[in-house]
């Protein structure tokens, strides 16, 4: 009896709530709207592409993601010829990106970089910039720099970054940044070299800045460090600042030269942001050992003496990892 009495107010509340919700026009429409139900698809490239096409046109973001991932995972067992044909013929950018990513997975799993040729052709030769960008985006998360080299460097990121379409250039940057961090965790010399070369080849300072700022230089070769150092003479102050920060992350064997270049930059550059980046590069190169050098730079630009003080305080803590030092410095002087 007591139980029935306790349930009654809850029941009344839920009835009232249902009534109010049914009066809301948006929800009433949503209840009656036709929903694209997933249909059974044949386990072939064509059948799965039909599913991806429907998902891209009418599916929710989650369903679109699911359809793309399903195709990518299935690609390991799908015939590469059919995937290659689909990549060559597809006209919808979203579907091209999905089937291109599937082909890249197949190429990586089977260790056959030559399978990527249809995708590389679309990336470099398609007349539609949207399709070129989709083909480049399809390479994201794959070892694309290595695979391009194994395909004879017929298509390279240095070429693609000169594309007239900004979305293609943007896709190049995203790929390199993702590949450096996600596949190699910053430990790959080829990626560092590719980033420096692509930054140098780009006419777009924003692209170059992002590449130098986000692709790790910890395994950069002497040649890559030399090219990076040349960027300190760029006319674009933002690019000089990005190069200065990137020089702070070069390997120990290159640190002496990088230290000289950054010290000289700090003394000669008139831009405040560039000088600030030079200090960061010097702090990163030497960590706690950089303190005497930073002390010696006091007075060169009095506006930045508080910045030097913040670095000295952060370095005094003897923290052992760069991201901890950087966080401590940002806490002291954002």
């Amino acid at each position: 009896m007591g139980s029935r009495m306790n349930k009654a107010p809850g029941l009344r509340l839920s009835l009232r709530l249902s009534l109010w919700l049914s009066l809301l026009p948006g929800l009433a429409l949503a209840q009656g709207a036709p929903v694209a139900a997933p249909t059974q698809t044949a386990c072939t490239v064509e059948g799965m592409l039909d599913e991806v096409r429907v998902a891209m046109k009418t599916g929710s973001p989650a369903y679109r993601k699911y359809a793309r991932l399903r195709l990518k995972e299935a690609a390991i067992a799908l015939p590469p010829e059919a995937l290659g044909r689909a990549v060559s013929q597809e006209r919808d950018p979203a579907v091209l990106e999905a089937v291109g990513a599937a082909l890249a997975t197949k190429a990586s799993n089977a260790q056959k970089p030559e399978l990527l040729q249809p995708l590389l052709s679309r990336a470099s030769q398609d007349v539609d910039p949207g399709l070129r960008a989709a083909a480049v985006r399809a390479l994201q998360g794959s070892p694309s720099v290595e695979f391009m080299a194994k395909n004879g460097d017929v298509v390279t990121y240095e070429q693609l970054v000169r594309d007239s379409a900004p979305e293609v250039r943007q896709a190049v940057v995203e790929n390199l940044v993702t590949e450096s961090a996600g596949i190699y965790f910053g430990h790959n010399p080829e990626l560092a070299e590719a980033a420096v070369k692509v930054a140098a080849a780009s006419d777009d300072p924003a692209v170059a800045k992002r590449l130098l700022g986000e692709v790790s230089m910890e395994a950069a070769s002497p040649e890559a460090v030399r090219k990076l150092t040349q960027q300190l003479r760029s006319e674009d102050a933002g690019l000089r600042a990005a190069a200065a920060k990137a020089l702070g992350g070069v390997p120990g064997s290159e640190s002496a030269g990088a230290r000289r270049s950054l010290t000289s930059l700090y003394k000669s550059d008139s831009d405040l942001a560039v000088r600030k980046s030079a200090l960061e590069g010097l702090a990163r190169l030497g960590q706690s050992g950089a303190r005497p050098l930073l002390e010696s730079l006091r007075g060169v630009d009095p506006r930045l003496d508080p910045e030097i003080d913040a670095w000295l305080s952060a370095l005094k803590r003897n923290l052992q990892e760069w991201h901890l030092i950087l966080r401590e410095k940002q806490r002291l002087s954002p």
Binding site: S108, R317, E321, L324
Partner: protein, 181 residues
Amino acid sequence: MKLKTLLSAGVALAAAAWASPGTAATANGPICDTAAYVNSTTYYNCTGSSHTALDVGNSSCGEWNHRGMLVGNYYYYYYGGCAAACYGSTCNGGAGNYYVVSGANGWDFRQLHFYANVSSGTKTCDRCALGLVGGTGSATGPHSHSDNRQYGTRKSAWYTSVGTTCGTNAYCNNRLGVPTL
């Protein structure tokens, strides 16, 4: 003054513990055979001495591909030089022929005891063949050993967190763990 130093050290330690950025990867079984099972986890054979890694076997040697376990593309660095063996050898400090995927901040993921073949070598790939299931190095029988370490210390959370234990089927489409890299 002492209190201030102590507080500073505490803050630094807390920051170090909190700031250990790593990426969660997914590791599937290393052998595309439904007869592959996990037979050692935190302890050898689940009740023996400390192990803190996964051993997977399918009772074969020099026959089945031993695949990269990580889902997605990763850079597998190969340490080879061990002659073919199914029941152990003294090579590479007990690891036999093996691969290391080096992540950030001292994290790595290793696969050990490969029986080398044409697929063996440093490469970047997504679940590709890296060699054959074998028993090179410190092994009493052919199996795949995988571990997830930070600065050389083996961790167990990567497989315990997803419920992998002795007897779990280790077919290559089954998720065995979520290692940090």
